[in-house]
């Protein structure tokens, strides 16, 4: 601590440097935080582990679809056979699930891994109060946590898609159709949205629970509930409610079917799988049952991109709404909360 005064003399009292500092355009605190969050995640082990997992599933599903692509494209009964790149993402010989099914399963884990200790770790380390003592808005922290992780997820999915496109071009020598690009982009946006739901849910839990292990376990519990048990429970409930099908009018049966579908779509994973399937398989016309009248006269041909988008719009809205609700709850819990450790 030698001669601090000489330094501090112009450190504090020099008005000229001070005003010069204000004039210079500096990054807003929000982007500083986003940058730091992204950097932290990239260097963190858990992201590396998730990255390896996702890249492995991507490569293996791509390998399986590549080895079956010639069969799939030659299948005249399939109206989607002209879309090679979509086929690359959806073909499977039954030994491996396709990539979007994998993402439906691993996406939540990625979201949870990136968000489960977002706020409580800061609080337990005593860095939260240190951050809050800086001139930054409290909500900026939440938003930065969310955006930082989301940036990473977006880049990850975009890279995978580009990798697939590039690899496909090298291997097949066929250029992708614009509509394929749109559909793949739509699929990526959907996947990002899906992961962002789990991310915002896990950030919510990280605000709610002081202990990061508790919040991680709760998030994983919710994820397991929706992937494993929710379907079983819905099946149980419906079969308990449903009278014997022999005594039912066709209209009633359709109503029960509707109810069954709607209940199942409360699970975010179902929303995602439905929407992703529609995006990647242009021949999917409806996510619910179709009546004979609707089917009559229909040519088994792929739908235009816009029509597919219309079909998945409720799913997208649902996912977006669920993300928003989690985020709003996080805000509500965090904004007035005592931050001392």
């Amino acid at each position: 601590m030698e001669s601090p005064l000489a330094y501090f003399k112009d450190f504090f009292s020099n008005g000229i440097t001070h005003s010069r500092r204000i004039q210079q355009k500096t990054e807003s605190p929000f982007w500083v935080m986003v940058r730091k969050e992204t950097g932290d995640h990239i260097r963190s082990w858990r992201f590396i582990v998730m990255l390896i997992l996702i890249v492995l599933t991507f490569l293996s599903s791509l390998y399986v679809s590549l080895s079956n692509i010639s069969k799939a494209v030659a299948n005249i009964k399939d109206p989607d056979r002209i879309f090679i790149y979509l086929k690359l993402l959806t073909t499977s010989d039954g030994t491996m699930p396709t990539f979007h099914i994998f993402i439906g399963f691993l996406g939540p884990l990625l979201g949870i891994a990136l968000g489960f200790d977002a706020v409580n770790a800061e609080q337990n380390n005593g860095t939260l109060i240190r951050l809050m003592a800086q001139p930054v808005y409290r909500d900026n922290l939440l938003l930065a946590k969310f955006c930082g992780a989301l940036t990473l997820v977006s880049v990850l999915f975009l890279c995978l898609a580009l990798l697939m496109l590039g690899g496909g071009m090298i291997l097949t020598g066929i250029l992708p159709e614009p509509v394929e690009l749109f559909r793949i982009t739509g699929f990526i946006v959907l996947s990002i949205l899906y992961v962002s739901f789990w991310l915002s849910l896990s950030i919510l839990l990280s605000v709610r629970f002081r202990n990061s292990a508790t919040s991680a376990l709760t998030a994983i519990g919710i994820w397991l509930f929706f992937t494993v048990f929710y379907r079983i429970i819905v099946n149980l409930v419906i079969s308990a409610m449903l009278p014997s099908p022999d005594y039912l009018q066709p209209g009633d049966l359709a109503w029960y079917n509707d109810l069954f579908q709607s209940l199942r779509r409360l699970a975010p994973g179902q929303l995602y799988t439905d929407a992703a399937t529609t995006m990647l398989m242009p021949s999917v016309r409806s996510l619910g049952p179709l009546t004979m009248e609707q089917m009559a006269g229909a040519v088994p041909s792929p739908l235009p991109f816009k029509e597919s988008l219309m079909i998945v719009w409720p799913q997208v809205t649902g996912l977006l709404a669920a993300t928003m609700v989690c985020f709003a709850l996080t805000y509500y819990l965090f904004m007035r909360r005592e931050i001392r450790t």
Binding site: M1, P4, L5, Y7, F8, K9, F11, F12, S13, H18, R21, Q24, T26, E27, P29, V32, M33, K36, D40, R43, N125, G126, T127, I129, R130, L131, M132, A133, Q134, P135, V136, Y137, R336, E338, I339, R340, T341
Partner: protein
């Protein structure tokens, strides 16, 4: 004092039914070093959080540089550097990176940020540990880094919560003298909270004693220590071999001695509180009366001692739910009334 930098008016905060801070009124002027003294759990940190706008007061208002802290906390945080009592850092970053992050959050331009962070590190004496990961830093080093955090922002007001916690004695001395010099040189206003009385005494212009959410007394060190050391500053305890009987008449005579204020008689001990050191006179008196002295023990009443005694009383009070007049209060109010 015209236009105080920190102005608290009737600040109140409840946690459930417990009043953490109760009607706190305080004014701190520019360039002043104010020490907030109190035991753990007295509500010091809560009061500080309200000054920073990090916690909402149930009633009252806190103004820093004329800005209301609860309605415009960002403006307040731009002017105030705050060091929390348990300051934490990002463990996977080095000390320098931690400091630069804070600098960036405060809008310091990118090209000057590193040089400034380095200079600040030198000032707080951390130039050697600059590239060490903070997870490997000791408590004292973290405390210094926390102070560097405050300094890099060029604040007008510095609020330090238990700043000397975890620093070794020589470090404390250095640290406090640095605070004092900075304050004197730059006209910085400093508010520091502590439960180490003698440390606070070294640097503060004024201190406030804060217990159970209330500011019992405030004033400059001179007046306070005169209050403290003025009257019952010496206590002499005399132990006698034989049990005391019929000491009352001796006590009467003793009271006539100059400077003796109070006499407490135990089984075979006599405790005398006196205004000045009259131990020789007392001993002579006892010898003349033919009492066999086995021990003379002079207790000096320092700030620490009183502080201690007060909290003993305070705990008793909590148990009995009775009177709220602790020794400290009696001490000061007696003095004030006199």
């Amino acid at each position: 004092m015209e236009s105080p930098i920190i102005e608290l008016d009737g600040l109140t905060k409840n946690y459930g039914s417990v009043k953490a801070v109760d009607n706190l009124c305080l004014k701190i002027g520019r360039g002043e070093i104010f020490g907030l003294l109190g035991p753990n759990g007295a509500g010091k940190t809560t009061a500080i959080l309200m000054i920073l706008g990090l916690s909402e007061p149930a009633a009252g208002i806190a103004r820093v540089c004329g800005v209301n802290a609860s309605s415009d906390p960002i403006a307040v945080k731009r002017k105030v550097g705050y060091m929390p009592d348990s300051v934490g850092f990002y463990d996977d970053m080095t000390a320098l990176e931690n400091l630069m992050y804070i600098g960036r959050l405060n809008g310091i331009a990118e090209h000057e940020i590193e040089s400034r962070a380095r200079k600040t590190m030198e000032i707080v004496g951390l130039s050697e540990e600059m590239h060490k990961k903070t997870s490997a830093c000791s408590r004292g080093m973290k405390q210094r880094l926390g102070f560097a955090d405050v300094l890099i922002r060029e604040p007008e007001v510095i609020i330090l919560d238990e700043p000397t916690l975890g620093i070794d004695p020589s470090g404390v001395k250095e640290f406090l003298s640095l605070i004092r010099r900075l304050s004197r040189q730059q006209g910085l206003t400093v508010l520091l909270s502590s439960h180490h009385l003698h440390q606070v005494q070294q640097v503060c212009d004024r201190v406030g004693i804060f217990v159970d959410g209330r500011l019992l007394v405030e004033g400059d060190i001179g007046t306070l220590s005169r209050n403290l050391f003025g009257e019952e500053s010496y206590v002499v305890q005399i132990t006698i071999r034989d049990p005391l009987s019929a000491f009352e008449e001796h006590a009467e005579e003793l009271r006539k001695l100059d400077g003796i204020r109070n006499i407490a008689v135990g089984e075979n001990t006599v405790e005398l509180s006196c205004r000045e050191d009259v131990t020789p006179d007392i001993v002579r008196f006892f010898v003349q009366k033919g009492l066999n002295i086995t021990g003379v023990h002079k207790k000096e009443f320092g700030l620490d001692e009183i502080y201690h005694r007060y909290f003993e009383n305070n705990q008793k009070k909590h148990i009995s739910h009775g009177k709220s007049t602790g020794l400290f209060q009696r001490f000061f109010f007696k003095r004030n009334n006199a």
